[in-house]
Amino acid sequence: MEFIIGHYNYWVVIFLMMVGLYTVISRGNLVKKIIGLNIFQVSVFFLYISMGTVEGGAAPIIAEGVKVYSNPLPHVLILTAIVVGVATTALALALVVRIKETYGTIEEDEIHNLDHSL
C-alpha cells in the first residue's frame, strides 16, 4: 500500500505522458497535435516537481521555525521551462497559421494529398 501511494504520482505522470504521445502520433489535426505535445510537456513538469517534494516540507522560502523545505532546484528549472514552453508553443501555432494560409487546411492527410507525398 505504501509502495502504491509512494509511486502513484510517477504512474500518473507516465499515463499523462503516454496520452500526450498518443495524441501526437495518432491524431491528424495539427492544433490537436500541439495540445498533445503540451500535455506531454506538463507531465514532465510534474515528474520534476514530484521528485523535489519532501513529506512535511514547506515551500522553499526561508523562515524562522521551519526545518524542512522542498527542493528548490526543480522549481527553478520548471518555472523557466513553463514560460519558454509557451513561447515555443506560440511558434508552433504560428507555423500552423502559415500552413493553413498556404494549403487551406490543417489536417495532416489533406496536406499529404495536396503535396502528393504519400
Binding site: 522560502i61 514560460v83 509557451v86 497559421v97
Partner: protein, 139 residues
C-alpha cells in the same frame, strides 16, 4: 464587437488590480513567491484582457508595436549589461557581489536588476505573441 456593459465594468475594475499585483510580484519576489517571469506574464495578461474587452486597436494604443520591440530587446540588454558591468568592475560575468559595497548589497542589487530585465522581456514578448496572432485576423 458589440460593447458589453458587464464586461466593461468588471474589466475596468480588475485591470488596475492585476497590474498592481504584477508589480508586487515583481518587486516582492525576493521575499515571497514571485519574480520576473511571473510578473511579466501577469502584466501582459492585464493588457491582453484590456485588448480582448475594449478591442485590439485600443490595446495597441497603450503600447505601440515599436515600443514592444524595443522593450523586448531592452530586457535582454539589461540582463546581459549587469553581467558586463560586473566584468568591468573586475569580477566574473554575472558575479553580483562586486556591484555593491558588501556581498549582501551587491547580490540584492544584481538580483533586482536581473529580475527587472526578465520581467520586461517576458511581458513584451508575450504581448508581441498576442498582437501577432490577433492582428493576423484583420484584412
Amino acid at each position: 464587437m458589440k460593447p458589453n456593459l458587464i464586461l466593461h465594468v468588471i474589466a475596468k475594475f480588475l485591470i488596475p488590480l492585476i497590474i498592481l499585483f504584477a508589480l508586487y510580484v515583481q518587486f516582492h519576489g525576493d521575499f515571497g513567491p514571485g519574480g520576473g517571469f511571473q510578473a511579466g506574464v501577469i502584466f501582459s495578461a492585464a493588457i491582453i484582457l484590456y485588448s480582448l474587452v475594449f478591442g485590439l486597436e485600443s490595446g495597441e494604443k497603450i503600447i505601440p508595436h515599436h515600443w514592444l520591440r524595443i522593450l523586448a530587446s531592452l530586457g535582454v540588454v539589461i540582463y546581459a549589461g549587469v553581467g558586463i558591468e560586473s566584468l568591468f568592475l573586475g569580477g566574473n560575468y554575472l558575479d553580483y557581489t562586486i556591484l555593491g559595497s558588501n556581498q549582501i548589497a551587491g547580490q540584492h542589487l544584481g538580483i533586482l536588476l536581473v529580475e527587472l530585465g526578465v520581467g520586461i522581456t517576458v511581458a513584451a514578448a508575450m504581448l508581441i505573441l498576442f498582437f501577432a496572432f490577433a492582428g493576423r485576423g484583420r484584412e
